[in-house]
Amino acid sequence: MSIGDYLQFSFVQHALIAGALVAVICGLIGPFVITRRAAFAVHGTAELSFTGAAAGLVVADDAVAGALIGSIVVAAAIGLLAVRERERDSAIGVILAFGLGAGVWLLGKYHGFSNAATNILFGYIFGVSDDQIWLLLAVAEGVLIAMTLLYRPLLFASVDPDVAEARGVAVGWLAIAFLVILALAVAVTVQIVGTLLIFALLVTPGAAALQLTARPARSLALSIIFSLVFTWLGLALAYFTDRPAGFFITTLAFGAYLLIRGARILAR
């Protein structure tokens, strides 16, 4: 089958559009996740969107809305409990354990489609519906606008929080705003690659980009391009080989990261 035939299917088109939206959001946020050391917070939010999704399934048979609400609640909880830097990781860990336990319980109460659990955990990009695309589009726009507005102060606060605070930047509020943006991005990304594979789009492209350039604007652009390429290639490979897209996306991302790191070590 040729690429042309592949692009004819509406579910493939849906997957590619949804994948592109998610990739752009993730690529945009990724470098900030790394400079702010929020990788673990991403992970916590992602796994807890699982709990949200399970709750959504039980209450209204709607995993997407549940995941959205769940990740925002979690971002707020992380912001509240993890005030001091040193305690942040253990606070996230504690919330994580509880939330997942609650998710298991909720999933036990759900008697619908039995693949629901693995779909939330590992994503099911070919199952994206028209409604979900609209929701994704709305969230993506919100994230884009918020990031454009906050870009400069957020960059300042991420790179040097102390100086930023001294210059009158509201560092604390920015941190919470960033967590909320992150929660939105995570909730939509989870739909595509699943809660467990989110790092491949939210952390690895940013890490690879920061290996190549230290200039903020350029690293953002690179990171967006990386995540877009990984997503589309991964989707195509998944379609032609009939294996999960998540595997290909994570492998491409990891391979690219290793290559770039290896090339940098050689160049030195």
Binding site: L100, V104, I198, F247, T250
Partner: protein, 277 residues
């Protein structure tokens, strides 16, 4: 009440759960104390997820799930221990490796469910969420032995480990082999994770590894007392969770994680009240 408890303990699967659960809880509580102290929560989490991939890989290779879980956890722990720097570099390295390992896990799950006619569709879910009430005698034995080993090993290295966790530079100057000890500790964490995964699952491991330790650290700043507290909090949570799961038909892991979280919140609340006065 006493009769009901006797009835519970007369059941084989409940006894198995109590034996394995107790060993796992004590060792996870103790090892977890150092995990939190050394700020390696994220690494421990990555190990938990590795267990999933390892378990699935073991099943595909025709080995036992347990073999895969233990082998993969120890291998990844060694990789992180040798590659791992500190701070931001470590976060990124762990996150990146971790995403790929999980991606592999998804591939294994898909191979396993499509190409093995005898495949148990719940194997994946069991690794992720644990099944303490359906442990086999062999699993009980392996988990208990592994837990006893990690417990003893951690006690044996507790003094230098504590020293180097609190002040790595001074410890190195005083002749503590910090790099080797750090790697050895990662292996201990890996074994703890691998054994605990069977009971509480790859995703819920934190309830035993991190929550009791975080609670203990907010209750007491004295390290030795904290370690003992952490181990016994974990034990109490597991026992209470099992009893509750016996009487109320919800998953034991739900009760365990919820009790752990409630205790943590309580200790944080008390801590904040105290620091205000």
């Amino acid at each position: 009440m006493i009769q009901a408890l006797q009835g519970m303990l007369a059941l084989d699967f409940m006894r198995n759960a109590f034996v394995a659960g107790s060993f796992i809880a004590l060792s996870a509580g103790l090892v977890g104390y150092f995990v939190v102290l050394r700020n390696q929560v994220f690494t421990a989490d990555a190990l938990g997820h590795t267990a999933f991939t390892g378990g699935m890989g073991g099943l595909i290779a025709g080995l036992d799930l347990l073999v895969g879980v233990f082998a993969s956890c120890i291998a990844v722990a060694l990789a992180i221990g040798t590659l791992g720097g500190r701070g931001r570099g470590r976060d990124v390295a762990v996150g990146t490796v971790f995403a790929w390992v999980l991606g592999l896990g998804v591939l294994f799950l898909s191979i396993y469910t499509t190409s093995f006619s005898t495949a148990n569709g719940f194997a994946g879910v069991n690794v992720l969420f644990g099944s303490i009430l359906s442990l086999h005698p062999v699993q009980v034995l392996v988990a208990s032995l592994a837990a006893a080993f990690t417990l003893l090993a951690t006690v044996a290295v507790a003094r230098p480990l504590l020293f180097m966790s609190l002040d790595p530079d001074v410890a190195r100057a005083r002749g503590v082999p910090t790099a080797m000890l750090g790697a050895a500790f990662m292996v201990l964490v890996a074994v703890t994770v691998a054994e605990a995964v069977q009971a509480v699952g790859a995703l819920l491991i934190f309830a035993l590894l991190v929550t009791p330790a975080a609670t203990a650290q907010s209750m007491s700043s004295r390290p030795w007392l904290g370690m003992v507290l952490s181990a016994f909090i974990a034990l109490a949570i597991v026992w209470a969770g099992l009893v509750l799961a016996y009487f109320i038909a919800y998953p034991a892991s739900f009760f365990i994680t919820t009790l752990a979280f409630a205790l943590y919140l309580g200790s944080q609340f008390v801590l904040r009240l105290r620091s205000r006065t």
